[in-house]
Amino acid sequence: MSQQKKRLSKEAYAYTPGLKIKEAMIVSKTRILPITGEVLVEKGDMVDFDTIVARAMTLGDPYIFEAANLLGLHPDELPQHMVKKVGDEIKKDEIVAQYIAFWGLIKRFVKSPIDGFIENVSPLSGRITAREQPIPIEVKAYIPGEVVEIIPNEGVVIETNATFIQGIFGIGGGKHGRLKVIVDSPDESIKENTLKPEYKGMIVVGGSFITLEAMRKAIENGVIGIIVGGIDSSDLTKLLGYRIGVAITGEEEIGTTLIVTEGFGKMGMSHRTFEYLKLSEGKEVAINGATQIRAGVLRPEVIIPHSRLRKVISESSEIVGGMKSGTSVRIIREPYFGRIGTVVSLPVELQKAETESLVRVIEVNIDDGEIVMVPRANVEIIEE
């Protein structure tokens, strides 16, 4: 075995991605079409939340119908009985194929079920494929800012200076609205009676928890977004009407976008998250509950555009950077779940946990001064 190389760090190195909570950073959003299309803005343009930046036409829905059967023909006879040919436009209930025999005594027709065009006539199956007219798809800017890059035929990259907060789990897609903090502290729960009708169109911020009744009340009152520390998974199931099995979200249509910042159960919102949200009360912000959890993950987000404290931070340098002594971390599993602290040391040697597993650990000085040992896998970096 070779000698220790200079490149190897003396202190063990750990790499655990954390949630981003940044008071000021350049947020960059790539807004692209799901299929190729047309970009409607130019590089350098300033856009607003609702500016349409790209548009495409997606194929309309196809309909396949048993034309030969309906006409009482063999499949290979169908083409000669078509009134409309492949590519022809058709209207709903218009005759597309017909069979007329015995001087008109026998008449059978196949009518179009849709407005659209004929895509295929099969002499093998005797079926016609008709397709509805193309449907436009539009992509909005989602955040206000400058178009810094055009991705030809696909979309754009928009940059803005903002406070950026990642949640841990969310429901519902991208929205924007005014921020309203409706609790006094990050440890307070949102109660049903605090959700007033005047919050319609707003994004409300709670502390540690929201009940099912309060979520329903918020939706009833037209609240477009809820940002909260924790929820009960059983309440989420009741709200959605089904149990989420795999965390791929963002398409839900429940009338509001929900962003959970800490986790499931009653969980005090991180003080820093709460502080930044409180500072931004009344501002127009963008939120998105879309979550995809695998390894690198897509987390829900809150973007609060502003013009202060513009800092240029390279994304790649943050990713390459890891956990060292002094790094702020959050413990993300029992028995210290939710506790925040700073890394004291990262021993190289494996240590025995209560489970008897030998694991790589980290020593953390948690907020009340106690030093605890936890598996490295059970902490995440709080990105400053």
Binding site: D61, S234, V246, A247, A295, R333, V348, V359, E380
Partner: protein, 627 residues
């Protein structure tokens, strides 16, 4: 044809491309890029013997914001470097140094991958129980996750199928249908559905959807014309040339080629990773399947294997030489832990937990694991909960496997007694009494702190019958050795035997049900010291007789009325039994295993079994149960 049937064949083409001759190699690095974690394993040749030396693990980095799998690979490799003080990466830390230059690097690097959801496919055929089922087996055989199986007779109207196809973004499609020379009408109908839907591939915007046609050869001209333009069409031999024959190898090969060409080249960072490896990147289930086949090949036995991962559960069976793999896409221990809850139920998970925990608390803990999938249990309570979920994931995975491991349906069978002609409809040929080896791999099983834990997780979930040996992967390296075995079988076998395959022991579990406490069978073991151990088993009991690995004893099992140890009710069975790290476990809990419905009684039974097998540290588990 499985390896058991055709013998082990290395890939000569890949061998010729290795940077250094195999007999000159000293260090080998293998990684598995999983959906949650990237696992690196380091192997070394010492005294002419290949051995496993060290592991490194790091979160996988396939998704945003990283979108480059190589970052996770380098982080995992860096852990090994730290542990061994051996530099594996190049001086800039931007890749793997190959070959070893006398001071740094490795001689061979290979990897498997299931990250980014693995290989995702949709298959279609004419008849659900015939060509569509064969297409499904071919895709699963190639290590794919099958997102949907479509057939002309699956009961869904065309519109529903089209909508479904458009919403899925598979990596590729397999279209089967019709026996050679049969009608082409049905396969053309299914083609119309696929063409109308025009599904988009998951990766590579603007690329054509790869489509493998493995149906009636008479339909090829129409198929070629039909899919020209919008699809990247490959035509292979019909996978069901006649009702009596299933030929899935050409389809499996085509899937593998397209996987490398389309999926891997468009997945984030894979082009770079492929540039580092000496061998093609292999889907994890395909490599794991090779490792399980290796067990069957060496032991000349039917084997049931399982890979319990973070996102998926893969079950493998080798029965009378036939190899079948099933991939349950959303049954896993981290990323899809809540889908286990969804498909199983909170009650089914709780039935394996010997202490009190309320539903809401338990659910929240599972959801918290789902959203932070790389965390590990620090407390015993958390460990026991994960072990409960694992039992359910494996149980559901086996149920899924049984639905795929079937004889060819639709085959004409002549009933000699009745002189009747009927068609094969048997649901599955997986009968636990016919499997004498069960092997488990995956993070949870490999990392279980006590071997008795994985032994009992496998036992409770699969409920082996008769006499069954249990094996497990020591530190999760079956996929690594599976891919390595394609070019260097001797090294792979060596490591497999010495460091990977943990012989847990043997379970004796006669089939039958009786009243609690009723005397149901006796076992006599002729121990290595010459003494006989005689065990009287009452219904509901489980006992462990320590017998170290490498020891074999003669066992005589004498079942009483209503119990069957493999030769029939009440018939004694004599067999040589192997030891292992757990030993011999005698299970009189009955088959099928039914847990008491009453909560306190159930917890009492679980506690008894836990203590009897010394599954958890006694003091802590007692404290937990008394809480």
């Amino acid at each position: 044809m499985s390896i058991v049937q055709r013998g082990w064949v290395e890939d000569e083409d890949s061998i010729s491309k290795l940077k250094i001759k195999r007999d000159k190699m000293r260090y080998i690095l293998a990684t598995d890029v999983g959906s949650t974690t990237t696992k690196a394993r380091f192997f070394m040749k010492t005294n002419e013997e290949w051995r496993y030396v060290a592991s490194g693990e790091a979160p996988s980095t396939v998704e945003t914001p990283y979108e480059d799998v190589t970052m996770g690979v380098l982080n995992a490799v860096r852990e090994i470097e730290e542990l061994l003080r051996h530099q594996i990466m190049n001086d800039k830390g931007t890749g793997i140094k190959i070959p070893f230059d006398g001071e740094k690097g490795v001689d061979l690097y290979c990897t498997t991958s299931s990250a980014g959801g693995g290989l995702q496919m949709t298959v279609a055929g004419n008849i659900s129980s015939m060509t569509a089922e064969s297409a499904n087996r071919a895709a699963l055989g190639a290590g794919a996750i099958v997102m949907d199986i479509m057939a002309t007779d699956d009961g869904r109207p065309d519109y529903t199928k089209i909508t479904r196809l458009r919403s899925l973004r598979p990596d590729m499609l397999v279209l089967a249908g019709g026996t050679d020379g049969g009608t082409v009408k049905l396969v053309i109908e299914m083609s119309e559905v696929i063409r109308a839907a025009k599904p988009k591939p998951r990766f590579g915007k603007g690329y054509k959807m790869p489509l493998i046609f493995a149906g009636n050869k008479e339909a090829r001209p129409e198929i070629k014309e039909f899919f020209a333009g919008d699809f990247d069409l490959s035509i292979v031999d019909n996978l069901r040339p006649s009702l009596e024959r299933e030929v899935i190898e050409p389809t499996r090969r085509a899937v593998h080629e397209l996987f490398m060409e389309h999926v891997m080249s468009h997945a984030p960072g894979y082009t770079r990773l492929a540039g580092w490896t000496d061998l093609d990147i292999m889907p994890t289930p395909a490599a794991e399947g090779l490792a399980i086949q290796l067990i069957a090949y060496i032991n000349k036995s039917n084997v049931l294997g399982v890979g319990l991962g973070g996102a998926t559960t893969n079950v493998y069976s080798i029965y009378e030489g036939r190899f079948v793999r099933s991939v349950s896409a959303n049954l896993g221990m981290s990323y899809s832990i809540c889908n286990v809850l969804k498909e199983s139920s909170i009650e089914n998970i709780k039935r394996w937990i010997p202490f009190e925990i309320n539903d809401k608390e338990l659910e929240n803990r599972l959801y918290n694991k789902m959203i932070r999938p790389t965390t590990i249990p620090q407390t015993l309570e958390e460990l026991v909960i994960e072990h409960a979920v694992a039992r359910e994931a494996l149980r559901l995975g086996l149920e899924h496997h049984k639905s795929i491991a079937t004889r060819l349906k639709g085959v004409k069978v002549v009933d000699r007694d009745l002189g009747d002609i009927r068609y094969e409809v048997e649901e599955t040929y997986i009968k636990m009494i016919n499997f004498h080896i069960i092997a488990g791999t995956g993070g949870l099983l490999s990392h279980a702190p006590r071997r008795a834990q994985s032994f009992m997780i496998l036992t409770d979930a699969f409920q082996p019958e008769g006499i069954t040996k249990l094996f497990q992967d020591s530190v999760f390296m079956m996929p690594h050795l599976g891919v390595l075995s394609t070019v260097y079988k001797d090294a792979a076998w060596n490591i497999f035997d010495k460091d990977c395959l943990v012989r847990l022991g043997t379970i004796i579990a006669p089939i039958g049900i009786a009243k609690e406490g009723e005397h149901v069978f006796d076992v006599t073991l002729e121990m290595p010291d010459g003494n006989n151990v005689e065990v009287k088993m009452n219904f509901g009991e489980i006992r462990r007789i320590p017998l170290p690995e490498g020891n074999e004893v003669r066992a005589v099992i004498s079942p009483r009325r209503g119990f069957d140890a493999g030769s029939g009710p009440k018939i004694p069975v004599t067999s040589d039994i192997s030891g292992g790290s757990v030993g011999v476990v005698i299970d009189a809990r009955g088959r099928p295993l039914i847990l008491p419905e009453e909560t306190e009684e159930r917890k009492k039974k679980l506690a008894e079994w836990i203590h009897s097998l010394e599954m958890y540290p006694p003091e802590q588990i007692t404290k937990l149960m008394e809480k």
